[in-house]
């Protein structure tokens, strides 16, 4: 009886069209966000080819985004190579295929784990950094001040950061792959004695161009998505301190999600082309 009364009260409090209103607003918000991001992307390409070109700022951002991320990427790559080798060894040993370890780890790192893990680390460090930086510039009117100083803030802030992220991530991924293989070599030598020459010649024998190129090409798209989403979230943030946190957070979440979506598409395209 009591429960039935509570249910009736709840029905009275919640409006009849509550679920419709919620789903309407969620869909509306989603499509508004998609259209806004599309316009932002189109504006990026429009501004990209229009002079003046901000070469100095691109170099500065490439240094900040690329060079400053090297230690983090190196540590992550080394640990991935080390752990993957240690974890894979017992399974391969069961089938007597321990000699395949360097080749298997190399293919895993270069084709998939290296690009995806580096991109996720990059999204966490660079994507959130760009989001927070642009959002705080928005809050403190620095973007307006640039406009008043006869500077196109979109070109100066967004185009340079997106371009730097697109160009730097592939370099970081190649670096992380190399350090990852070094980690694997260390792991192999923990329980055995394999020379560097033998280890790396096995890797190069097992690798083909089709392993390397699609993996590197997709990292350009990862970098572009991370830079673009970080910039989009920061540039369009709410004018308040809360907006800075939200921009940084949503930049990481959305960019990480996009990395997986792009990876899935890239894998499909690669397998289609290889067939």
């Amino acid at each position: 009886m009591q429960q039935s009364q509570n249910e009736n009260q709840a029905v009275e409090i919640i409006p009849e069209n509550f679920s419709e209103t919620i789903s309407d607003s969620v869909f509306k918000k989603f499509f508004l966000e998609v259209s806004s991001l599309t316009i932002f992307t189109l504006r990026f390409f429009q501004e990209l080819f229009k002079p003046p070109y901000e070469f100095n700022e691109i170099i500065k951002q490439s240094f900040l985004i690329g060079y400053k991320s090297l230690p983090l990427v190196a540590i992550t790559g080394f640990i991935i190579g080390l752990v993957l080798t240690i974890q894979s060894r017992p399974t391969l040993a069961k089938f007597g295929a321990e000699s395949w370890l360097p080749a298997m780890v190399a293919v895993s790192i270069i084709r998939e784990i290296g690009p995806v893990i580096t991109a996720l680390i990059f999204a966490g460090k660079v994507g959130s950094g760009i989001g927070a930086e642009l959002a705080s510039m928005n809050v403190t009117e620095q973007i307006d001040a640039m406009q008043v100083s006869d500077t196109n803030p979109f070109k100066y802030l967004v185009v340079t950061r997106v371009l730097s992220a697109t160009l730097m991530l592939p370099v970081l991924v190649i670096f992380a792959d190399g350090v990852g293989l070094l980690g694997s070599f260390v792991a192999v030598n923990i329980k055995g004695n394999v020379s560097a020459y033998l280890f790396f010649s096995q890797i190069f024998q097992s690798m083909e161009y089709k392993d390397l190129f699609p993996a590197v090409i997709k990292t350009f798209f990862f970098g572009f998505a991370i830079g673009l989403i970080g910039s989009y979230k920061g540039y369009n943030s709410n004018k308040g301190t809360e907006g800075v946190g939200k921009a940084a957070n949503s930049a990481v979440v959305f960019a990480s999600l996009m990395v997986f979506v792009i990876d899935m598409i890239a894998v499909q395209i690669t397998s289609l082309l290889q067939n």
Partner: protein, 258 residues
């Protein structure tokens, strides 16, 4: 420095070949919320015009429209005798190069040093300026606001008053003919506020700039204004000198000065 605004001679507009800025029936809304309903005002050459009004009455929006940070819905904005809406994008940029804007927060670039903050507008607007010339312009601007010793510091190492003064130096480095101040003394102690007010008067005397000063600070209005306009419900509700408005019979206007 004593603030004797009456000693600054304001010439009649007709003697000055027209007004520096003229606004006719300016309207601006945000969604369904009309902020500026019908603004009509003029600014004379060399004059400090203070705009008073409650929060949310569109005072900042008004000066953002002048500098192109916000678009107008309706009305005419005439700067140096030219209707802004009739000008090409390039011509609008050229006109706006003559306008300086001091933001409420100072809007200093956090990632740059004091020197780089001052060099930025020169490098963007006077692209072919030699390095030595840029250096001397930076040093002169910093000396004018008493911040020469802070040249290699970052904005985060400066106090609120110093940040405001640096913002002013950055705005003045290109010697604008019109200065727009958005709440220049907000968040500052009375002594620092007085320093900023004196700087505003110095700028007016030294460069003969015309200024619009948006403020809630009645001391700032008293010290700097040649003329005051009060905005209420998106229209200019009252206009006059400080003493005129102080002795207004309208209780709402009088309440600003109590």
């Amino acid at each position: 420095m004593t603030a004797n605004v009456n000693s600054i001679e304001i010439k009649n507009a007709s003697e000055q070949n027209g007004y520096v800025v003229e606004m006719k029936h300016l309207k601006k809304s945000f969604g369904n919320n009309p902020v500026l309903r019908d603004i009509n005002l003029v600014i004379n050459k060399g004059e400090n015009l203070v705009i008073l009004g409650q929060s949310g009455t569109g005072k900042s929006v008004l000066i953002k429209c002048i500098v192109g940070l916000s678009d107008l819905d309706e009305g005419k904005l005439i700067i140096f005798g030219k209707n802004v809406s009739d000008l090409t994008n390039k011509e609008q940029i050229e006109i706006r190069k003559k306008i300086g804007f001091l933001f409420q927060s100072g809007a200093l670039y956090d990632s740059m040093t004091v020197r780089e903050n001052l060099e930025f507008p020169i490098r963007r607007q006077l692209r072919s300026t030699p390095k030595e010339k840029i250096n001397s312009m930076v040093l002169e601007a910093l000396k004018n606001v008493g911040l020469a010793e802070a040249i290699d510091k970052t904005p985060s190492e400066l106090s609120g008053g110093m940040r405001k003064r640096l913002g002013l130096a950055r705005t003045l480095i290109l010697k604008p003919e019109i200065m727009l101040y958005d709440e220049p003394t907000t968040g500052l102690d009375p002594i620092t506020s007085r320093e900023i007010n004196n700087l505003i008067l110095d700028v007016q005397k030294k460069y003969n700039t015309s200024s619009i000063i948006i403020t809630h600070d009645i001391d700032c209005a008293r010290m700097t204004a040649n003329r005051i306009i009060v905005i209420k419900n998106g229209v200019c509700a009252a206009e006059g000198s400080y003493s005129d408005l102080q002795h207004s019979t309208d209780p709402w206007i009088k309440s600003f000065f109590e």
